[in-house]
């Protein structure tokens, strides 16, 4: 198959397609009528009819010879006529004509004087011939029509049966593979063709079929075109009629579910329109079966996912509770003890304070690990609402009041910033982690800043400092889990903070990156998509007048 020559596209105008289609239809119709008259009995049957006609003619002649002395010529003609009727009823018009001609000849030759010689000069013999021919033709014609009707009824019944069998088989299919297998089998047995059903993967690319004997060779290029354009292609259609197979899209109510490839066993024998219609009906059945199976699978998958999610969050909640309880007790008890030791002015209070600090760090670590686990576990459920960035920055700074105390802050938040649709707790966490990072990795007194601006459809937030900057070359690696700028650093942490930031920002559909500023220091920038906040419709009046 010359796939590269296949260039369906917008160049094919609408009108020429229509024209092509009617022409193709006429073409198929012509072939159909021809194959119909020939095909109703088949070639061997046809020969058999003519053979029988010859034998019957000879038989009647020989059977009538001994009767000549006892019967009138007119009655012998009756026998010959009977033979014509018989052959016409049994074998149709052609053999009937043959037997009529043969009978006239043999009757004339054997019985009409001069015997054993042809004599067509008498009116009588001409009449005999004409009557016999007309009877033969009429009866033959009637038989042919009757047979044709029987044939049509049979075909209709068969079609209904095929459809019924296929529908029944498909209704029991549980997986897409079963649908494919059943469909191929049904098409092959119903149409006596080679059939192949191609289904797409998750990215709408048809999957290449495995080579199996007895299956039609398929051109994936044509199949994909047929799938993408939702149009039949290949043999017997307007698009690439030179292809050896016919490609039919499987149109389901919601979308195209696959492509059926049909290759006639005998080349160059197109499907008759009735078969095409039947095949189209088959295609619809298959498409619906595929769609049903697809949604059953989706429903099942969702169920499994929900179950897994429930499991996961209950494990996380349990773990969190179990880890936090001893931390709470540890911190609380240490603090109680500290208060007591301070009152007693004990020399051990410093150690105790240190224990408490360590316990608090551990608690933070546990928090980070659990958050990371939660974010990694798959889809975080974002509790989105319309938030003001100014408010989130403010509360992040309040949470870091202590560490930020020794750093001059530069806030440049555009007062006209729109509300952003985000999970407040998570975005606050991003800000806290970035600010905390800045305080941890810069010397005391270093300026730290937050700048926010709108860039077309994005809100861009920068957290920057005037510190020593990042080690160059591996900036973006910092967002990987357990990665730290300086591995042998005295700064506490395990490198989860930025990984959490990235997970959160990406869950919101934004991006986070970092670089060194030209004027020195590091800059972390994250973006969040902007949307139009809902209107505020409230009957708030102008300013309140004091009463």
């Amino acid at each position: 198959m010359n796939g590269h020559r296949f260039e369906p596209g917008p160049s094919t105008g609408h009108a020429p397609i229509e024209e092509n289609r009617t022409r193709a239809g006429r073409h198929i119709g012509w072939r159909w009528r021809r194959s119909r008259t020939r095909g109703q009995v088949g070639l061997p049957g046809l020969l058999e009819g003519y053979g029988v006609a010859l034998l019957v003619s000879l038989g009647v002649t020989f059977a009538a010879m001994p009767l000549l002395p006892y019967l009138d010529h007119a009655n012998i003609v009756m026998l010959f006529l009977l033979a014509v009727v018989g052959v016409a009823a049994g074998y149709g018009r052609g053999p009937a004509v043959l037997v009529a001609v043969l009978n006239v000849l043999s009757f004339n030759f054997v019985f009409v004087p001069p015997r054993f010689a042809f004599a067509f000069d008498t009116l009588q013999s001409i009449l005999t011939f004409v009557v016999m021919l007309i009877v033969g033709l009429i009866v033959g014609q009637l038989t042919a029509r009757f047979r044709h009707q029987a044939q049509v009824a049979h075909t209709r019944e068969e079609r209904a049966r095929f459809l019924y069998e296929m529908a029944r088989a498909l209704s029991g299919a549980l997986t897409a593979d079963q649908v494919v297998e059943i469909s191929e089998r049904c098409v092959e047995s119903s149409f006596r063709v080679g059939a192949r059903l191609l289904t797409p993967d998750d990215h709408d690319r048809l999957q290449p079929p495995s080579a199996r004997p007895g299956k039609p060779e398929t051109d994936l290029g044509i199949a994909q075109w047929c799938f993408d354009h939702n149009n039949p292609a290949g043999f017997g259609t307007d698009s690439l009629p030179d292809a050896p197979s016919l490609y039919l899209p499987l149109k389901a109510p919601l979308r195209t579910r696959g492509v059926l490839v049909v290759a006639p066993k005998q080349r160059r024998l197109p499907l008759v329109p009735e078969q095409r219609r039947l095949l189209d009906t088959f295609a619809v059945l298959m498409a619906i079966a595929l769609e049903r199976v697809h949604f059953a699978a989706v429903a099942h998958e969702t169920l499994v996912k929900m179950e897994a999610e429930r499991e996961r969050s209950s494990v996380l909640a349990g773990l969190s509770h179990d880890l936090r309880t001893p931390m709470t007790a540890l911190i609380g008890l240490t603090e109680t003890l500290t208060l007591k030791l301070i009152a007693e002015q004990s020399p051990y209070q410093e150690s105790l304070t240190s224990i408490r600090e360590q316990a608090e760090r551990m608690a933070l670590l546990v928090d980070n690990l659990l958050d990371m686990a939660k974010l990694q576990a798959g889809r975080v459920r974002l509790r989105k609402d319309w938030q003001s960035l100014e408010e989130l920055v403010g509360s992040a700074m309040r949470m870091l009041e202590q560490p930020l105390h020794d750093h001059p802050l530069r806030l440049r938040l555009d007062p006209q910033l729109p509300l952003i649709h985000c999970d407040a707790v998570l975005i606050e966490r991003v800000l806290v982690n970035l600010l905390q990072n800045a305080t941890k990795h810069t010397p005391l007194g270093t300026v730290i800043g937050v700048t926010a601006s709108v860039e077309t459809e994005w809100l861009s937030v920068e957290v920057w400092d005037e510190g020593p900057g990042l080690p160059t070359g591996h900036e973006q690696d910092l967002f990987e889990k357990f990665t730290r700028g300086h591995t042998e650093s005295a700064v506490p942490g395990v490198g989860l903070g930025l990984a959490i930031c990235r997970a959160i920002v990406e869950a919101h559909g934004g991006q986070i990156r970092t670089e060194n500023r030209a004027s020195g220091g590091a800059r972390f920038t994250f973006t969040l998509p902007l949307a139009t906040p809902p209107l505020v419709e409230t009957d708030d009046e102008s300013d309140l007048e004091p009463t």
């Binding site: 007790a329 309040r398 708030d540 309140l544």
Partner: protein, 233 residues
């Protein structure tokens, strides 16, 4: 604060972890509160009935049931203040607990100082309520609830009716965290509880008018994911 000058208050701790109960008890008894303990929600309800505590400290992660249901149950027949202890994972349980009628929350792990501060604030607030009709002053701002007047630095501040309603809702409950739903319901009405953006916008207006640095508010604090808190000091 000198605890001996006040009548000693009874506190009930509903918490399944003995270690936490122990240090909370130690901390509270150090401030001469009377402390009772319960390790399940069932016992907690029972103890509330018999001991008539002045404050309940409730852990949300109890094995025998949902702390939020406990609060709803309790609120049917008692208005005793409830301080909720929650872990970070139970972030949204905490909001639900506050919506159901809890008064405040503490996130585990918490320190003794923090605990005592919250306990004092909650019990003080309850002893003083209701508090309408007065002039409430904080920093250089004073709000006259009766005359519906706001003055800052001696100058009248112009506020809209809705801003004033929001301001009233906040300043009449000093120190108490008010959830988004509670504020939306009280200021705009029950149909508006899902419209968080109203709150964001009007809170911004209030801060612009009453805070010296609206980005780093001193009085109208954000409790991210939960609501707002008015801190007069």
């Amino acid at each position: 604060m000198n605890a001996t000058s006040e009548p000693s208050l009874t506190v009930l701790i509903v918490e399944d972890e003995q270690a936490i109960r122990r240090f909370v008890r130690a901390a509270l008894e150090g401030e001469s509160y009377r402390v009772h303990e319960a390790d399940t929600l069932q016992r907690g309800l029972l103890e509330t009935g018999t001991r008539k505590p002045d404050l309940i400290i409730l852990d949300l992660g109890l094995p025998d049931g949902d702390g939020v249901d406990f609060i709803r149950d309790l609120r049917a027949w008692s208005s005793v203040p409830v301080l909720v202890l929650s872990a970070r994972v139970e972030e949204y349980d905490k909001v639900e607990a506050l919506d159901a009628g809890a008064d405040d929350y503490l996130i585990k792990p918490f320190g003794v100082a923090e605990l005592l501060a919250r306990v004092r604030a909650v019990s003080r607030r309850h002893a003083r309520e209701p508090d309408g009709g007065a002039i409430i002053a904080f920093g250089e701002v004073s709000v006259d609830l009766e005359r519906r007047q706001v003055i800052r630095d001696g100058q009248a501040v112009r506020v809209t009716p809705i801003e004033f309603r929001l301001l009233t809702a906040l300043v009449t409950k000093p120190g108490k965290v008010l959830t988004h739903r509670q504020l939306l319901r009280d200021v705009w009405g029950p149909a508006y509880v899902e419209r968080g953006h109203y709150l964001r916008i009007y809170m911004g207006h209030l801060r612009q008018k009453l805070e010296s640095d609206p980005t780093r508010p001193q009085y109208f604090l954000t409790e991210t994911g939960v609501g707002y808190r008015f801190c007069p000091s």
